[in-house]
Each structure stands twice: as structure tokens, then as C-alpha cells.
Symmetry: D3
Subunit: 327 residues, 6 copies
């Protein structure tokens, strides 16, 4: 089971200019065959199905623990998409009926971002095709599963770089810069695991694909902080045996790999402003706020929401910079 934390693994920028076409492309990193839904669910099912765990504990712990980190990755992709969609419909005077979505008709958008969804991320790829459970590989054979995972991370890095190259919105760049580094760690982890089990030195293939992360400005701060060397333990008390596998030198830099014995502290999220043209969260968000406030009072909660946000959308008590910039 899990505990959920209302923070994210890396800092994401606040909404700026909307980029709905870019958001449609970033969906590949969510619901594509090599997207974060795939890494999350592949490792999750492999950990669920792991037989004889006690006999292979370090490997079980490795897969189970990386699965936990991946949950945070689908969260980040969703945030990037939501940030890029913010402002794509007019927030101030956007209450239906009208033609708030008219400008989007001829654009290379994902139509479900607007017609079926509410300017929000979806478990779809860049074709707007849904993620499918058939993307999950769980053979039960440890060496095969690890081989798959190494290949999956390889393909994932390819896709991340290409999204980086295509979409220059700050949210997309912050996302791909971070994921390239963290995906790289997982790729190293699985290569090392195969090596320790079979002797095959997959690490000689690095970097694969040959992405020069050191030259990518959005990767730089993470590399400087040593994030490319660290595997975080995303659990209060479990998965402690990852140290037996995530060890040795980094294949590209030679620096020593390191297990961090806890999750990163994380960062608060921006509270994205409502988009009334698509009823998100409603035609008249202020009425919901009013109801919520009454319920909160009745429950003895303080006046200000307990949830921490990086910036308020338009519902909090703090001055609402984002909203005014957009309207």
C-alpha cells in the first residue's frame, strides 16, 4: 500500500503562456508505450508478481522502489500538461455560453483536452490514443523483466529527448530536464542489476540513446546536485536492500552510485486557476469555494486551507498573481 504526499519531486514553473499543441505532444510521456504510465505499471506489476522475494530480496526491493518513484513521474507529466493548458481558454470572461474554444478548433491540439476532458491531462499518448495494459511486460523471469526494464528506460529516454526538442514551453522543459536525469538513474539501476545477475556489462552501452545530458540546461541543476547518482528510498521502512544492487560506479562519469535512505523532501505545487469555459472546476468556482468554506468551518478547520501550494490559483486567500496575469 502507499502513503501519498501532496508535494512533487521537482520544482515546476507557474503557468505562463498557454501551449495546447505542446500539451498534446507531451502526452506521449504520459500514455505512450514508453511513457510514465508504462514505467509505473510495468514495475508495479512486476513487484506484485515477484515470486520467491525472500530469495531475491535486493532485486524485489529495487523494482518495487523504482515503481514508487514512477508514481511521482506521472504526477509531474500531468502537472506539465495542466500548466500548458492553463489559459488556453479565457479565464475571466470565459463562462459559457460563448465561443471560448473557437480559436482551438484549427490547432494541432488533443481534442479530448477540451471536448471530453476539462483542460486536464489524460492517460493518452501524443496520438490521443489511450494507454493500454498491453504495454505491461511481467514475465516473472527476473532476468527477462530486468532486460525489458533496461530497454524500456532506453526507449523512454529517446521519447523524452524528442519531446524536449519539440516543445520549448518552460513546463515541458522543466519536466523533460528532470525526467531525463531520473530516467537515467533507473536505466543504470536495471543495467547494473542485469550485470550482477549475469555478468553482462550493459553499462558499456551508455549513454543510450546518446543524449548529452550535460549540455541540456534543464538537466544541469539536477546533475550539479548529483541527482544522476542517487536512488531515493521511497518508503518509511521497506525496500532497504536496494543498496545491494544500486552500487558501483556510474557508467558515464565513474562517480560512485548512492542510495539516499529516504524520499526527497519535494516541492509544493502551484494551484492552477480555474477554467470556467470548460467547467473546471465549475461554471462558477466561487460558489464551490463558498460551500467548501462552510463545510470547513463546520468541521472546525482553520480559515486558510491546510494544503500548501506554491502559488494560489484563484481560490485561496493569498494574492492571486497567476490569475491576474492571465485575464
Amino acid at each position: 500500500m502507499i502513503l501519498r504526499i501532496d508535494r512533487i519531486q521537482t520544482e515546476m514553473p507557474p503557468p505562463s503562456d498557454p501551449d495546447p499543441a505542446g500539451a498534446a505532444r507531451v502526452q506521449e510521456l504520459m500514455g505512450g508505450r514508453f511513457g510514465e504510465m508504462s514505467t509505473l505499471m510495468n514495475y508495479t506489476f512486476q513487484s506484485f508478481n515477484f515470486r520467491n522475494r525472500q530469495g531475491a530480496r535486493p532485486f524485489y526491493d529495487l523494482i518495487a522502489n523504482i515503481a514508487a518513484e514512477e508514481y511521482g513521474h506521472i504526477e509531474l507529466v500531468a502537472i506539465a500538461i495542466n500548466t500548458m493548458l492553463t489559459g488556453a481558454t479565457p479565464p475571466a470572461n470565459g463562462r459559457p455560453p460563448g465561443d471560448a474554444l473557437a480559436d482551438l478548433k484549427d490547432q494541432a491540439i488533443n481534442p479530448h483536452h477540451f471536448l471530453a476532458g476539462g483542460q486536464g491531462a489524460l492517460p493518452q499518448d501524443s496520438r490521443a490514443n489511450p494507454w493500454t495494459g498491453d504495454y505491461v511486460f511481467s514475465s516473472g523471469d527476473l532476468v527477462e523483466d530486468l532486460t525489458h526494464n533496461f530497454f524500456l528506460e532506453t526507449g523512454a529516454r529517446n521519447n523524452k529527448l524528442k519531446v524536449y526538442e519539440m516543445v520549448d514551453h518552460p513546463a515541458a522543459r522543466a519536466l523533460t530536464g528532470y525526467l531525463l536525469v531520473r530516467g537515467g538513474v533507473h536505466q543504470v539501476a536495471y543495467a547494473r542489476a542485469v550485470e550482477l545477475l549475469t555478468g553482462a556489462d550493459l553499462t558499456k552501452m551508455f549513454p543510450t540513446p546518446r543524449i548529452p545530458t550535460a549540455k541540456i540546461p534543464e538537466c544541469k541543476p539536477h546533475l550539479d546536485a548529483g541527482s544522476h547518482l542517487k536512488l531515493y528510498r521511497f518508503s518509511p521502512n521497506d525496500y532497504k536492500e536496494i543498496v545491494a544492487v544500486f552500487t558501483g560506479p556510474h557508467p558515464e562519469t565513474g562517480e560512485e552510485l548512492e542510495v539516499v535512505d529516504n524520499a526527497p523532501e519535494g516541492f509544493p505545487m502551484h494551484d492552477l486557476p480555474s477554467q470556467p469555459a470548460v467547467f473546471a472546476p465549475d461554471y462558477a468556482p466561487e460558489e464551490i469555494k463558498e460551500i467548501a468554506q462552510k463545510l470547513r468551518k463546520k468541521a472546525g478547520l482553520p480559515d486558510e486551507p491546510l494544503g500548501e501550494v506554491a502559488s494560489s490559483g484563484n481560490g485561496g486567500g493569498i494574492a492571486d498573481k497567476v490569475k491576474s496575469k492571465l485575464s
Copy 2:
């Protein structure tokens, strides 16, 4: 982001007689339109996409927190399936080549449990069709999303009861007994949320479908423990405002609903024995164990694995009851 805990939300029985046809049916609760992948991913995406959270914090917290519990539900369904598949191939003399799978050829199994997978759970439904992202509804409109969630839990209860009626394997019964109670809590939570927002008293529809949970032996202990009244807060520090929504009387019993301000302690899992006929985790699990043991020693880990299990499959240091029973 999440922290993962290597324990499960309810106690599950150890492997007994295999039931691969039953396992194929239980998959509906995993990857069906109303399965746990759907509840998990619907609430997860709705929480990711929630705009103006500060203005509607209790509702955001409710959806985000229930999403966290659902992760534990896909885990439980996977365990039930894996338990039922255990022993479906001969573990002792089952090393290939041979005809270890011959008896399964004519049965109503999910062929991917054996041919493509390794006697493990998959994100598929009872037709062996994959779960798809198109099962996710995330309109952004709070009232619509909650209406959907109430309907989704209703359909989910229907499916759970039917699996209960079809499959009497102890693992399937333990699963459905538990999920009927917990799904019931979520159904109440969403109905109450709609009521508080709109005044519509959906709770008058309860029980819907008209499942007499009190008469189901496998629900009984959970009802006796009051589990049908409790919403656990699956987070170290967040989602505290659920108390503002999950409140008032239970629609069926009139008892007061209750927020438990932490996750349940949980139970350890059984370490399911290897199934060498399908290479899970390998043709010769003892070799993997040997490698793992060397790596563990090198990493300074103690002789016994750090992971806690309810019973050892066949790789641990504890006497292996399960294995002997099956071979």
C-alpha cells in the same frame, strides 16, 4: 508523490489449491471498466487535474486520498490472482522442458497468465482484454466527476459481488469480502460529497446494488471492526480536510462516519513460491538466491532478508510449508 509500504490493507490467505479459471475471472476486478485500475486511475487523474484546489480543498483532499487507498486495492487483486495461480504448474519437478502446462490447455484460463506472463496478475479484464486509459473520466467539473465516481463505485460493487458468486477460492473470497466493504465506504463518500455540494440525497439509493453485505461471511469481520464507517487518511501530513466531507450518518446503518487520521497498519504478504515451469523467477531460483545472498553480504546486510513476509515461499530461511504442501 508517494511512499510505498511493503504491507497490504487486509490479511490474505496463503496459497492452497490452485484455481486458474477463477484467477481468469478475478481479473475483471483488476482491469475491467469497473476494476481497481479504473478506480485508482480515475481518482488519481482527477486529483492531478483538480483546479482551484485551495478553494475546494475538502473535495480535492477526498479524491486524492481515496486514490491513495485504491493503490492498495490493485495490490490486493494482484495478490488474490497470484495466490490462485500458485501451484497451477508443478513446482517441484516443473523445470522445462516437459509438459508442465498441458493440463491447462483445455481450461477456461486466461492464456496470458501462462503463455505471455509468468503465472502472474495482468492489467487485463476477465476477457483478457487490457485495461485502457479510455476508462478514465476526468471532466474537471467537480460535480460531474463526483457523480461519475458514485456511479463507478456502484458498478464496481456489482462486479465484486458477481465475482464473489462465481469464484469461491479462499483468496477470491477474502478479496471480495474486503473490497465490498471498502468500496462501500468510497461510494458513501462520493454520495455525501454530491449531497453537500448540491443537496441531492444520493444516499437514499443505498444499498445500490442491493448487496446484503451483512450476510456475507467474508464481509462480516470487517463490518464488525467498523471498517464500513472509516475513511483512513493515507498520508503522513496531507489531505487533512477530508473531515469536512466524510461526515454524517452512514446511509444504511445510521452510525456516524469516521475519519481515521492515518493509514491502517496493514499485514505482511505471503512470499509466493517460485514456479519454475514458467521461469518465475527463474528456471533455477536457488541460483538467483545464491547470487542475491552474495550481494547482500557484500552490502553488509544481515543473513536473513530485511523484508517481512507472512510466510516464506521457498527462498527464505524459514521452514517452507507452502512448498511442501504443493509438491
Copy 3:
């Protein structure tokens, strides 16, 4: 637009022994590429998309009118499936919880008939895969569309005969016997239309496939009644120009084709009994009946339902033979 009539195009037998495996196979005639959903939707969309209708009115009328008949065919397939599923769960003592579905676990059923649905027909094929809009061909080119339709009816006859050969339940046989004859009429109609437009005498291919309908007992009464020669006009006032195309000799018998200037009178349906084990229509159908009765009284309706049925399931005022046989 349409008017719906609560009668069916041919007489169907009452429920007898259940045959859930047979029902799973009959689904091919519903949701397969050559099933009735396909014939219905192909002709419906072709008629919607027909350009320059006034210039080609007889052909527009032909396609539009056959589309209307096909609606009645998906109805018949559904009735056959529902009839075969009736009694597959114990109706009398089948109220959950229990193990009313246990016997079905190991059978070659469509699991959705029981787990996701309520012992009812679904828009799926014999693999339990859903019908898809990609089965619709609507090129807009009249000759191409007619060529397609001729081919579609050819494939459909193939599938119908095979279901006939595999499933001998009286409902399946009544269904396929009727559909083979009516599908044959449509096949002739499209072949004749191509012939009149291009001169190509497709009728020389008849019978294709070489099904000896005259030797099929369940086709016999329909042949004796001349049904293989008649095209009914399923409309109060429209589609009158079909006479210009559906004309000339029948390719197999040489008898003259005939347009019947109205729909057939039809037959009432059996009111299939409730199946409480799957909540169809509820755990306790008598309560629903009671509510309905009150509402009917309040609306000034007579004591007996206005709907005509061939036999009552278990909710009507007439002596309930079906129910007693099954319980």
C-alpha cells in the same frame, strides 16, 4: 427518425434449457465484423451520407430501407442470447450472497454476460471483443458501397450458417433460420442494384456461400411463406422507390421478387423472467413491481400492463409457466 414497435420480425421460442456457452458464440452475429450491428450501421451511415439522393432515389431508398429492417435483426440476436442465458443462474433461490455463478466459472462462456453485464446481450463478438465503428464502410461512391454491401451480406451468411452448425439451442436455430433467409434477400437486393448500375451479373454467384437453405428445417417455413422473395417497406410513407431496384427474378429460384408495401405485422416477445442472482432487474423484482404498480395507478393506467407479451416472465398477471419450469 424512427418509430419503434414493441414487436419482433419473427417468432422466437420461450426460454428452455439455458445454454450460456452457445450464447457466447451467438454474439458473433451481434458484434462481429459481419454481425447485425455491422449491417445495421453500415447501411445507416451510408444512407445518412448519401449525396444527391434525388438523383439516385431508388438506390437511396433501398439502402435506407434495408437499414431499417436491420434494427429488427440486432433485436432478434439480442433476444436469442437473452433466451439462452435465461436460467443459467438459479432464479428462485438465486438471491445473493451465495455461489449462484459457481458452475459457470469453468465454462466457455462470455464472462461479461455474467460479471460485467446482467445475463444480457452485449455489442460484442464471439471473442467478447466489442463491435467497433471501424467496421463501417461508407465511401460515398454508390457502386463501391453496394459492392461492399454485397460482400458484407456474403460474409454474414457464412457466419450465420456456422453459428447454426455450432449451436443447436432452439433460440439460436430460430434466429439463424430466419436471418439466413432475410440476409439472403438483402444479398440479392444489393447484387441486383449493382447489376442495374453496371451490368455485372453478380447473381450468377448465388448461392454464395453455397448454403442449401432449402434443406435447413428452420429456414423452411420462411421459404414456404415466400419470405426469400419479399422486401418489406419499413416506413409509413417513405422509401417507395425501392420497387425500381428490387425487381426481376430471384437468382436461385427464378421466382419474381416482390416489394411488400409495409412492415410485417410482427410477433410479441416473451417477457423473460428476472434473474435475481445478477440483479436483473433487481435483487428483489417484486419490490420494483410494487413501485411500478403504484406509479401506474397514479397515472391512471389500467391494472394489467399495456404492453403485450408472448408469455409473461414473472412480473405479469398471467400464469407464469416459464418461471415454474425453471425454478
Copy 4:
């Protein structure tokens, strides 16, 4: 079974400027999860599968009758799409070979509208993904099915409003204006049915989503005519017990709901002009017309086609205004 009428439920505008990108978006209302294929097929299968009808006749009649109306809705969506596609290829000099489709290459069109289809509507959604039978929910449990239907109509209204906001072509606006009103009636009907069965007053949720239909110019005439209060009985003699359920005040206006004991008279359709660039209905429609005319004469039909149209495309005897405007 059905009778088909060659008229439509509301008046639609003649072709004007083409809008192929808009047509691609309107497809969501045809083949999306909440499109009219879904409402049609959900209610159709629920009525087919309804057990113990005599005991719950008013509810059976309600679902079966609304299903009948929905057939007219897929027809209207198709007409809107076809109207918007008319003129997207040059009709006068558009005979292949040439580059009649060149301008469309870079547009946000549905490529199947032109490459696989013939400038006609398809059972696809706004992503160009096909409608699938998995969108049908038919649990057999009356309360569940009605809950689903209420939710389905809610989601459908959301999608209709968004298409309204995105596409301002007169055909799209006429369509969505009408469907918002009629879908609203169905939403009320299902909410009322749930209320009468369970006591839960779902009507307190109205309007949901909060669409201000009264402010939508294209809804106005329908509201003025009281269409939002009326349920038409789409049958010569059946489904008479709908009066027992469709009763009481309208949740938004308090006006009394009303059953109209017949179908609306309807309106004739525009005969859309041929588009020879895509062979619809042929490279040389005048040749087809000539053949048709001979066949008509031979069949003793009058010189003018019997079918009534609002305006002739280019095949009829009436002066062809549409064609000349476009060429």
C-alpha cells in the same frame, strides 16, 4: 422493430461555407464515449435486455422510447457533419485526377473524412477513434442502469456545450442547440425515474453541468416551444406507460413535464450536393441519375422523385441553389 421516417427531428440549415476542421470536432458527438451512438446503443441494449418488463413496464417503456428518439440524434449529428463537409472539395471542377484535396493536407481535419470515407460522417470521435461496444453499460439492474443513464446524459451535455463553444458553423450550432434541450429532457427523465424508485432527489443537481441554456440563442426557440418539457412517444402503439414516470415539475423551471403521445412531425432534409472529387456518389453523378431515371420509369414511378427534400442538391428537378452557390 422500427419504422423509419425520412424526416428529421429539427430543422437544419443548408450547406454554407465548409468547415472540415469543425466537422472533425463535431464527431465527438457521434462516436465519443458520450456521443449519440452511445446514448442510442446504451438505451437500445438496456431495453433489449430488460427482464420482467411486465412487472416494471413504465421503466421499460421509458428506456425503450428514449432509445427510439436517439436514433434521430445520430441522424442529426451526421447531417451536421455532412453539411459542414459539403464544399470542402470543389464540386464543379473537382473530378479527379487533380489536387482537389490539396488544401486539406495541412488542416486539423479527420483524415478519414476524405481519404477513407467520402466526405461523410463516421462512427468515430473527435480523435478519429471508432465508437466501441465497450461504451455500452447494461447491467440489468434497473437502478444501476438508470444511474448510469443519468450520468451519461450529464457527460453528454458537457460535451455538447464544449462543441458549441468550439465550433460556430451554423450546422454545428443548430445541432448543439437542439441536442442540449433534448438531452436535458432525457437527463430529467432518468433523474425522475431514479427518484421514483429510490426517493433520491437527483433533480436537485440541475442544471448539471451548469449550462445556462436559456442564454444560448440556438436553444431559445426550442425552449420557447416548450421542447424542454416534452417527451415524445416515438411509436404507433407502444410505450404508453411512460406517463407513469415522466411526470411532475421540471427541476429547473418548475413547469409541469408533459408526454406528447406521438412523434414530432419532423422536417425534410436538404439533399446535399454531390462531391465528385471523392466519388460521392460518383465521378459523374449525372450518369447515375440517368440510370436511376430509366429504372424509375420502368417501375412506373412519376418523373419527379417521391422523396421530399428541403432543397435539392444537384440531382433533382428543382432549381439547384446550393450547387450554384458553391461552384
Copy 5:
């Protein structure tokens, strides 16, 4: 089994201006229901499944032999797409990281051409939906299969003409010009086969659709060379009995059909230049070249590659015209 020849059936132009939107549309001819994957796989499976071949040898040979030609057609479609994608990213300075794909973000491209693939053809259609095995029809009934094949070729011609009309890139035009002629031959072959088996003269339907190939400049040279009359035997020693079926006059011209007792000589392909922005074949193709050269030397191969190409991309020893034009 097959022998593969590194040559193509018709001459294709070298890369010129890129046309990624056009490439997305041409995919319909690859992975659409009527694309070359479909013709290839339909005939391939029909030949695999052909029972009693000795008794119907000419027909078996016909289907098996046309299947062999179709392999060359998927190759040609791939080449057209790859040619049109060449240069869509900057080849010279396109090494990541950068924004080499930025211009593509807002275009009507297939996103998988760039994000998931490497500027290469995919088994997808113009919607970017994958080809599916459900497009294969293999009933085993010879007359039905031939009827299907005639219809399939008819639909395929329709799609080819429309792609011709939409995309004027030289590669697309060379492709469609050639495929229209060769597809026409297959259409004739299947029509004749049906005629010989049943007497039905499908050839009266020609041309269907009514494509005036003689007026299409890119068809002209193939018609002048008599390609529309010739069926090549794509086998060293087999399928010799095609002469018994592919015989008689061409339905449109009356000229005699002709079996050519060998495969055409074919043409060498252009070696398309690398596109380093998408790592095709790598970030630094020159390093791969260096490795390859060493391996070649070690294996005793000559300095110049043994493979013949129409023009070198950027890896060969020949002066690289293509590359310089693009950079």
C-alpha cells in the same frame, strides 16, 4: 518462404523538400484498412490457409503470387514516407540537444513519426492508428475470399486516388501513380477469377471506382509500358499455374492480359541520409560508419559497400548530393 531482393519495383525520386504532413496522410496506404499491409496480409493468410491446393492450384497460385508482389508495395509506401520525412529535421546541425523539432509542433503531422519513431514509416493509418490483424479476411471459401479481394482492391484504389489528390509531393505521386496501375491489375485478376469460377462478369464494373488512370501523368509511363496488363511471377520456380486464371482481355482496354514469367528487374533505392536530431541511425552516424568499416575489413569485405544504392545518403563513398542539398 521468401528470398528478399534489395531492389524496389518502381523508381522512386530522391528526397527533395520535406513534407511531414503529407507523410502522415500517406500512412493510410500503409496501415489503413485498405492499405498495403492489408493487401499483403490478406493474401498471405489466404494462401497459408488454402486447403486442397492441388485441386484448385491455379487459384492458389494466383493468391500466393499476388501476396508476394504486395510485399514490395509496403516497401514502396515506406520509401515514400521516409523520403517525405527526410529533411524535416535539420540534418547538418541537428544534433540534440536543441529545438530541432520545434517547427513540427503545430503541424498536422503524425506525432509518432518524430516522438516515438525516428522519422520513419510505421504500420499505422492516416489517423496514426495501428494496422490490426482484424483487417484480415480469410474465410477459406474460395469464392468468398476472391469476392473480398476484389472488394479490397476496389477500396484500395479509392484510397490511393484520394491520397494522390491530397498530397503532391513527388514521392507520393510516384507511389500512387504506380500503385494505381498495379492495384488495377490485381483487381482485374480477382474479378477474372470470380468470373471463371462462377460466371459472374465483375469486369463490367470497371473502372471501379471510376478513376481515369490514363489522365494521371504518374500512371502514364506505367500504362505505356503495358504494366496494367502484366502479372509478374514473383518466384524462382513456383506459382506457374497463374496463367490459367490471369487470361483474357483487359476489361477496360480489351488488350490481352499477360503473365510475365519472372519478377521485374527492379530499381535500386536511394540511401536516405541520416537525421541525427532523431538519432537515425545515431547521434553521430560517422562513428557507426567507422565501426562498420572496421568490421567489414576484418570480414574481408571490399572497401566500398556491396549494396547498390541509387544515390548515397551520407555514409557511402560516393559524392553525397542529397546531403548537400538539404544542409
Copy 6:
């Protein structure tokens, strides 16, 4: 382009007892994610999309050449399935109408083998789900593509072994015995290619999965013949540079790898007998034979068919052993 040869790569047994349930399972090797359709199409598209071939000729030749061999593998899987389906319906008295398929109704068959198809192989997997183009990976990055191919062959071996273990029909065993050996060669080839490009010695992972091919009786003759060491060149004149990559010692045995500079001679196929119950190739195959014979005579062909078969089904001049055994 290709030349097709009417022979197969290994000897397959004649039909014996039918095994339709086994045939359903063998489909995984045809249309599963790791089936032969996938290996064929992955390598085919990768070769089509290979940029800068001259610079990396040995690698291009390797992928293109293995693709050619894979065509022969889908052929073998089809033959195994068709052989196992032969006799599943009564051949002698099986002419419809009757109940020739009745016994199959309750079995774990693929329903499309009988209802939609004609007792023939289909591009589907063991779930009866179609093969999809989304199984193709073609990144354009040589190292990535080769990594994928190594993983694909690994997964494919897993699936082959499991089918071997489940299905003991002689045709299935002959198939899997052969494919395990040949797939092993491809796995070695791709591992060696990665090693030569990057230095990573993937061969240390062998055998992966740990299949003891030497202990499998049906692998034995192929191993004895050295087939596990040989890469055949499936081309008259091309792909000669494979020698530069397929070289060095076999990872498991240390024996030297060997390029055979031509395709194997191959074996003739059994002419499978007709199955009139499913119209394959017709209701009355002797009539087709008669027509074919006339056409053959007219074309000047000899009395006996030119095609060579291992044994005649029921259409040839040779005494028909197969047929008499089955009837």
C-alpha cells in the same frame, strides 16, 4: 521486393488427431506481442527505415536478412495451426446443414477459427486478439533497435517454450522445436551486433530465458545439424555483409558461428484436406477441382498440378492417405 518459394523451412508432420484448443494457444506465436508477426514486422520496418545504409551496411544487411527468414516463420506457425485444426469438423459427411461444429461449442477454442474464419490461422494471439502495428518498434537509432530486437527474441523464446509445454500435438512440437533453435540464432545475432557496436557483452546472458534446448527432443535434430550456428542468406544476391556481424563463437557452446550463403532448400508442404463444413475451400471442393482442371487444360498445363506437395489433401491425383485416415 521478394521472391516467394512454395516450400517451408522445416519439415512439418501431416495432419493427425485434431487439436483445436491447442491451435488456439499456438496463435500466441503468430499474433502475440512476441509472435512471429512481430519479429517479421519489426525487422521489416526497421530495414525499410534504415538511414545511411551504406555507412552501416553490415547492420542493415543483418536486420533485412533476418526479416526475410521471419516470413518463413509466420508460414510455419500458420501450418501448425492449420494442421491442428484439420479434422476438427467431419470432412466426409460434414456438408452443411447439420451440426458439424456442435462439439466445439463448449471447448476452449478460438471461436474465430470456426465462426469467422474457415479452420485457418489468423493474425491473432492466444486471447484471439488481433496483432497490432503498435507492436512494431522502429526508433531509427541502431543501438536502440538492436537492443529491442535482442529483448524481443528473448521474450519470443519464453513464449515458444511455454507453448511447447502446453501443447503436445506433433505439429506444435515440430514448430516450437524448430523456432526455439532459429530464434536462438537471431538472439545471438542481435546480441553480437550490440557487442560489436558498443562493447557490451550481452552474450553473457545466454541462455536467456534458461531453456535447455539440448534436452528438448524436437530441438535435437536441428542442433545436431548445426542449425543453431547458421545464419542463412535469404537472397539471391543481396545482404552479403552479414558476415561482418554474424561471427565469433556461439555464446553457449563456443562453436564458431557460420553464414550460409543461401537459403535452405526447404521442404514441400502437406496439402491439407478440405473441410466442407466450413466451406474450405467450398461446400463441394470437387466442383472447384473440375473447373480448375478445365482452366488448366485450356492454358496448356499438364494433367497433374505443377505444385509439389508432401502429401495430397484430397484434390490431387495421388492416393489420398490423409483423407481416409480422417473420415
